[in-house]
Amino acid sequence: MRTAIIFASTLAGLVALTYAAWATLPGLDRRVNHITQAQRPPGPDYYLAHDRGGHVDHHVLYHGTDAEAIDNLKQADILFLGTSRMMFALRSRVLAPWAQAYGLTYYALGFGFRDGDAFVLEMIRKHDLRPKLVVVNVDGFFGRALSTWAQRVVKDSPFGARKRFWEAEFGHESRRFVHRIIPNWIDLYGRPGFPFGNEFIAYRSRVDGVWSISPWPKPSMPAPSQDFGVEPVGPRIGDPARAFKAELDRRGSRMILTYVPTPEDAGGNPVALGELLGVPVVGMDVDGLTSHDGSHLSEESAAFWSRRLIQDLTPYLPPPGPR
């Protein structure tokens, strides 16, 4: 019993010491609050998309475990597609009033783990999606094989998908509880010299599929340059892009391209790709954007980019009403 008392009192002492430091040190207080306050969904329409251990929104949307989210996805007039960079860039507060004004509905169907056309095509076919308009962020989207995570998702059963979601949700809730008392020091200070090490939490809206990032780190660097020269579009990108467009044509959906700045190979010049496919390109040449990790847009820049996107996209909007 003595051993148990020593164990409990040491642990309690360490926790109390941390809590006291949190309560008394102003700097630490602000930082901890930033982490703990942010770790909550923005509203009842949101579900957990990503915490540690994977992007569970892959499972939710592929296996259709959230009926409301799937209904909204199926009814969307406009689909926005892309990788995590697109998901960071799309902001509901900009998109929602715009779409409402034109009597249209939209859904952001992008995914983390760098999943592109292969996984989205699986989704489109599985749920038989037939939107009027599809806006694709060309940043590494075409010619992407299923990520290892997506392969797992596709192989999982609906029961497996629910298991993963419950596990993620339960883990997330327990972390929220624990970190109201003691912080995770790595989340608090990041990993020095390790730009991609900071964990973030994403909730996904059931209504429009947009991610809510929490906590969204402060911008610390300019967004990547958008200078891609006159690089031609090779068959590596061109062929799958054509195949993707053909699938959309069969479904009666119009395709439009856009571009969110990326530090990686975007797969050729978006304008050249647009010409190759015979589709418009919107949301290009947005200057003054910032990022927190050199890859994803900061919160302010994301809203700024979304505004530019809808401004360019408006002339191409389909009429409201049934398809």
Binding site: M1, R2, T3, A4, I6, F7, A8, T10, L11, L14, V15, T18, R52, G53, K155, K163, W166, E167, F170, G171, S174, V178, I182, P183, N184, W185, I186, R191, P192, G193, F194, F196, G197, E199
Partner: protein, 473 residues
């Protein structure tokens, strides 16, 4: 099901509640059933249908052992056939699931090369969790019965529990029937001392996994492939190799420690699987400290069967090489694993040829002993590079960068990353000192303080949870 999951916490709490109520003497049939059912749920959590594979493996070995028990020792040929059938089924299952993808790929390539491309299955085969472990465990039972070391057990429930016992099911330790089955009829009550010991092992295991291995994995996973690039800095590449050697130790030793702790709480003792391997003074000593239950399995059932060191000097070296290459292949169908095993095999043979395997008789030649320690650990580190790399060519590119020797000062990220190696260094240093009598084992009070610090570390320093590395084997 992973130990680092809430589903497992719920499952274990239910089993432990049964231990405290209906299983106080451990041998109560109701508690044994609880263990069987919980282990089945644990295994089926991954791919439910794969429980049938485990049942097949266990069923065949159970029946083979019964038949062997009924067949007189004089009927050598019949006994051999029974054993061959059992081994054939187990190795067939293992081979199919481990190497089917490679085989399909090879068939597709070969047929395309001769101008008649064959369609191969588009869906790859999902490896049943822990198949490498439980087939070896199950086979050891049949071999022991064949050798007359064990008498066959007649209760299938007990035998099934031996195979499926959830703490060690997925990634070991590989438990021998000869050490597990005799524990079954012992009514081991849960005492406070045993409870503390089990809890200590569990806390150590979770600390190794969640704080050390998972944080090291963040760096290794992000940067490993950069070390393949031409002219990647030698210090950076070497740092990655060190980080991975720490990660794989913390990950695997962490799992084993949790498994032993859980088993303790349920009334069973599992063998030690790791004993500070990075202080090993020789390659032989390394394998006496790393994945001990696999290396002893390979020694007793493969090396000895091949003749061990009883035939000739050259044959001994060949046997060492064969056993280690097969040990590499046990991990999976990849050239990198074969090279990993071959490196260890060759190094073990060289060590034996030089007479350095025991470190005895070197007496005053402390420098030679230390030099061989460095060589042995260097071989282990190089072998890890092959183990972790995507391909043989990538591993060579990695090594070429290290061989450039253009060492730059480590940057802040590298120093911070190395902080997660510190607990492992302390662990090894303590083990080294303890083996030499320089320090005494920790008293319970110190252990309690250390356990509390580790729990605090788990709560405040955990990284993103990843699967245990050995789950894929």
């Amino acid at each position: 099901m992973s130990f680092v999951s809430w589903a497992f916490v719920v499952l274990f709490l239910a089993v432990f509640a049964a231990r405290l109520t209906i299983g106080r003497r451990k041998i109560e049939p109701a508690f044994v059933w609880v263990l069987v059912v919980a282990s089945t749920v644990f295994y089926s959590w991954h791919v439910p249908i794969y429980i049938l594979i485990l049942l097949t493996s266990a069923g065949v070995d159970y029946l083979a052992a019964i038949l062997l028990g009924r067949t007189p020792a004089t009927e050598v040929s019949k006994r051999r056939w029974i054993l061959a059938l059992s081994l054939g089924v187990n190795l067939g299952l293992l081979g199919f699931f481990k190497y089917a993808n490679l085989l399909m790929d090879a068939v597709a390539r070969a047929s395309a090369a001769v101008g008649y491309p064959l369609e191969t299955a588009a869906v790859s085969v999902i490896l049943p969790m822990g198949i490498s472990f439980y087939t070896f465990q199950s086979m050891s039972y049949t071999i022991d019965v064949y050798r007359g070391v064990l008498t066959p057990i007649h209760s299938f429930r007990s035998f099934f529990l031996y195979v499926i016992f959830f703490p060690q099911l997925v990634a070991g330790p590989i438990v021998r029937a000869v050490s597990f089955l005799p524990q079954m009829p012992r009514p081991r009550r849960l005492r406070l001392k045993v409870f503390y010991e089990g809890l200590w092992l569990i806390i150590v295991g979770f600390f190794l996994k969640m704080v050390c291995a998972d944080n090291l994995a963040v760096y290794v996973d992000e940067y490993w492939e950069m070390a393949y690039l031409e002219r990647a800095n030698a210090a950076f590449s070497l740092w990655l190799a060190l980080m991975f050697s720490g990660q794989i130790f913390a990950d695997f030793a962490g799992y084993s420690s949790i498994a032993r702790g859980l088993a303790y709480l349920l009334g069973y003792r599992l063998p030690i699987n790791f004993n500070a391997p990075y202080i090993a003074s020789s390659l032989k000593n390394f394998w006496e400290r790393w994945h001990i239950t696999l290396s002893s399995w390979l020694r007793d059932y493969l090396y000895v069967s091949l003749g061990g060191n009883r035939i000739s000097r050259v044959r001994t070296y060949v046997n060492l090489l064969v056993v280690m290459v097969l040990g590499g292949l046990w991990h999976g169908a990849a050239y990198t694993y074969i090279v990993w095993g071959a490196l260890h095999g060759v190094a073990l043979a060289v060590e034996r040829a030089l007479g350095l395997q025991h470190n005895r008789g070197l007496g005053r030649f402390g420098a030679i002993r230390f030099l061989w320690f460095l060589v042995a650990q260097g071989v282990v580190l190089v072998a890890w590079i092959f183990f972790r790399s995507n391909s043989y060519e990538h591993a060579l590119a990695f090594l070429a960068n290290v061989a450039e020797m253009d060492f730059l000062m480590p940057n802040a990220m590298m120093w911070v990353g190395m902080l997660f190696l510190v607990p492992l260094v302390v662990h090894h240093a303590w083990a080294w000192a303890e083996e030499r009598g320089a320090v005494k084992p920790l008293v319970p009070a110190m252990r309690a303080v250390l356990a509390a610090v580790m729990v605090y570390g788990i709560l405040t320093l955990y990284a993103g949870t990843s699967d245990f590395i050995y789950f894929q084997f």
